[in-house]
């Protein structure tokens, strides 16, 4: 065990993976500087510039080339610098990465991982705070993983790299260094598609993922102090979704609050709410609440606080569900 931040845990997973010669890491500034968030720090020194590759500034090129490498039998890991800069590569992801297995009826596959830092909360410049995960969850053929803590980050990234299909691996920017926890030194896999019940409770189910887990955990503590016993689910994977865990929990508590920082309209909360409507409607004691970002461009530094859902909003929404 070593105490690690999420950035360090991810670094450890990448380092483990690079022991396999079919794995390469490519992206802008991943080599010499160790990436904008230093997640790849030191890997170029250890594995060389042919395996930890600094590319020209070209996201479509990075994804398209990684796709080709994957089709040809390698296990590329592509890093994009921010979600706001992933869009030039979106065509490659939607039209090629996600569907080659289907188009070729399993003859060709694209086992690559695309790592994308996402989300706000650090007062960054425009395009640096976005949380548009649903543009990826909506595309058939992509798995979408979002760790919220160091221990999961390492195991989930290892699973993503081992996965036979393309994985969009979303890394919450403000969680990179926010939490430190003990992370096993030996390689291990945390399964994709399995949510984690972080806290059991009987009154209400709080469902979140990624960076918003921090506020969600805090809200649960506050609610607990006020006599509301909240169950907390960290989804960890958005696609494929762990439907069973969500449904079983809501059937037990009868109340659900979904939390994300992405804009509200067609955010992932809509999917969860619909699912609960389909599978647990008759257990519900109150309408499902959504605590989300707004349908606006993430405000810049001076006004960003109005955007990101805070603990109070989660508590207020939860208390509304408790009224019925």
């Amino acid at each position: 065990m070593t105490e690690r931040t999420m950035a360090q845990a991810l670094n450890a997973a990448l380092s483990d993976a690079l022991a396999d010669p079919s794995v390469v890491l490519l992206g802008e500034d991943v080599g010499m500087t160790g990436g904008v968030f230093r997640v790849t720090d030191g890997l170029r020194e250890t594995f060389g510039g042919d395996r930890v590759i600094d590319t020209p500034v070209a996201e479509s090129g990075i994804i398209g080339a990684a796709f080709g490498m994957a089709v040809a039998g390698m296990r590329p890991i592509a890093e994009l610098q921010f979600m706001g800069f992933s869009y030039p590569g979106y065509d490659q992801i939607v039209n090629h990465v996600s569907r080659i297995r289907n188009r070729s009826r399993h003859r060709f596959t694209a086992p690559l991982v695309i790592r994308i830092p996402y989300g706000g909360g650090i007062g960054a410049a425009e395009h640096h705070s976005e949380s548009f995960e649903t543009i990826y969850t909506h595309v058939p053929g992509l798995k979408v993983v979002v760790p919220s803590r160091p221990i999961d980050a390492k195991g989930l990234l290892a699973s993503a790299i081992a996965d036979p299909d393309p994985v969009i691996f979303l890394e919450p920017i403000r969680a990179y260094r926010a939490i430190k926890e003990d992370v096993p030194d030996a390689p291990y896999l945390t399964p994709i598609g399995v949510a984690s019940i972080e806290r059991t409770g009987s009154d209400v189910t709080l469902i979140a993922y990624g960076a918003m887990m921090k506020e969600t955990r805090q809200a649960a503590e506050l609610l607990g102090a006020n006599g509301v016993d909240a169950e907390v689910i960290d989804l960890r994977t958005l696609v494929p979704l762990d439907v069973e865990t969500i449904v079983a929990s809501v059937q037990n508590t009868g109340r659900a609050v979904v939390i994300h920082e992405a804009p509200r309209t067609t955010g992932f909360g809509a999917e969860i709410a619909a699912l609960i409507g389909e599978k647990a409607l008759y257990s519900l004691k109150a309408p499902v609440e959504r605590v989300t970002g707004w349908d606006v461009v993430v405000p810049l530094r001076r006004a960003e606080k109005h955007y990101t859902p805070g603990v109070d909003r989660i508590v207020n929404a939860t208390m509304r569900t408790m009224e019925s």
């Binding site: 802008e28 500034d29 080599g31 010499m32 500087t33 160790g34 904008v36 600094d54 590319t55 020209p56 500034v57 070209a58 996201e59 479509s60 090129g61 706001g84 800069f85 030039p88 007062g123 960054a124 410049a125 425009e126 395009h127 640096h128 509200r264 309209t265 707004w294 349908d295 606006v296 461009v297 405000p299 810049l300 530094r301 001076r302 006004a303 960003e304 606080k305 109005h306 955007y307 990101t308 859902p309 805070g310 109070d312 909003r313 207020n316 929404a317």
Partner: protein, 346 residues
């Protein structure tokens, strides 16, 4: 500098070609370069004090910043990047707007009426094609305006660069492509950005004129930019300019160049400083005094201080205001969300 690189004022301040402008104009542009440098250094300093968000300094690129804009008319289009605050300011974008943007306030993006400078492109490479669109509109509407787009060497690797250059060539738009080849894209050196010997060679592939210049030579920049602007205005289509310069500072205030480069080359470039050589030249012409320069620097420093004070005095957005500029009229769902924010707080 390679042989085919236009230079008019050598690094030692000696003329090696014909100046495209007279001494009065050189003094004006010199003054603008000094203001730009003061602005740039103050922004870096203020970022360190936590008063500004991340800042991308352009130190060493002042000849490009000022010279590329010098031949433009007040209503020409300027479509530039996060590193082009000097150019934007010289094209009429108010300093307070630049500073507001850097404090992290959307109101910085509100260009005054009559000034056609777009907010700086933060994404690399997506904006050059916009200067094709604005130029194309001007061509179709016969306004006589020209569009200048500025970008770095890294931006030429994005696919959108190709599309912009190709459209400009095919539709013969009055666009000036001004590439500041400053040797770096964050940590990636030019030699790893492209296998081409020089970027200017790309112009021919798009059926476009191309010219490579010493980007630290104000007079070469002005000469090339003037020719390209006049050609564009006269209906002779686009030009690609590759200005050879150097990013002597970090990529941004969040960057540590020590991780990827030694400063030997940087020091060599500092010796080719774009401001110093004009000063030496002006002094030799009896057109420069220390007192004059000190006055300019003092006034510039005050201008930046005032802009920061004005920006900081503005109340930050209220919650309501984050909803107010998404559409011409806020939609019902947005009004709903505004209510939720009022009710529950952030």
């Amino acid at each position: 500098m390679p042989q085919d690189t236009l230079q008019i004022l050598a690094p030692n301040g000696e003329l090696v070609g014909d100046p495209p402008i007279d001494l009065d104009r050189i003094r004006e542009l010199y003054e603008a370069m000094v203001v730009a440098r003061v602005y740039d250094r103050k922004c870096t300093a203020m970022q360190k004090q936590g008063r500004l968000a991340t800042y991308a300094p352009f130190e060493g690129q002042e000849a490009c910043q000022i010279g590329a804009v010098a031949p433009l008319n007040a209503d020409d289009w300027v479509v530039a990047t996060y590193r082009d605050a000097g150019a934007m300011w010289f094209a009429g974008y108010p300093m307070v707007n630049l500073i507001l943007g850097r404090t992290g306030d959307e109101r910085g993006g509100k260009t005054p009426e009559g000034i056609n400078v777009l907010p700086p492109s933060i994404t690399v490479g997506g904006h050059m094609i916009h200067a094709v669109g604005t130029a194309w509109a001007d061509k179709l509407q016969d306004t006589g305006r020209v569009s200048l787009t500025m970008f770095g060497d890294g931006a030429t690797s994005e696919g959108d660069f190709h599309e912009a250059m190709n459209f400009a060539g095919v539709f013969d738009t009055p666009t000036v492509f001004f590439c500041q080849n400053n040797g770096w894209a964050i940590s990636l050196p030019f030699e790893q950005q492209t296998a081409a010997e020089s970027l200017v060679d790309k112009a021919v592939g798009y059926g476009m004129r191309g010219v490579r210049i010493d980007g630290n030579d104000l007079l070469a920049v002005v000469a090339a930019a003037t020719t390209a602007t006049e050609d564009a205005r006269a209906g002779r289509g686009p030009t690609f300019i590759e200005a050879m310069t150097y990013r002597v500072g970090p990529h941004t205030t969040a960057d540590d160049p020590g991780r990827y480069r030694t400063e030997t080359l940087t020091d060599q470039w500092r010796a080719k400083d774009p401001i110093d050589r004009v000063r030496v030249y002006l002094e030799a012409q009896g057109q420069w005094t220390e007192a004059w320069e000190a006055g300019i620097a003092q006034a510039a420093s005050q201008q930046v201080e005032d802009a920061v004070a004005e920006a900081e005095a503005l109340e930050p957005f209220t919650g309501d205001e984050i909803f107010s500029a998404m559409f011409a009229e806020p939609t019902l769902p947005l009004l709903d969300q505004r209510e939720m924010l009022r009710r529950d707080g952030p």
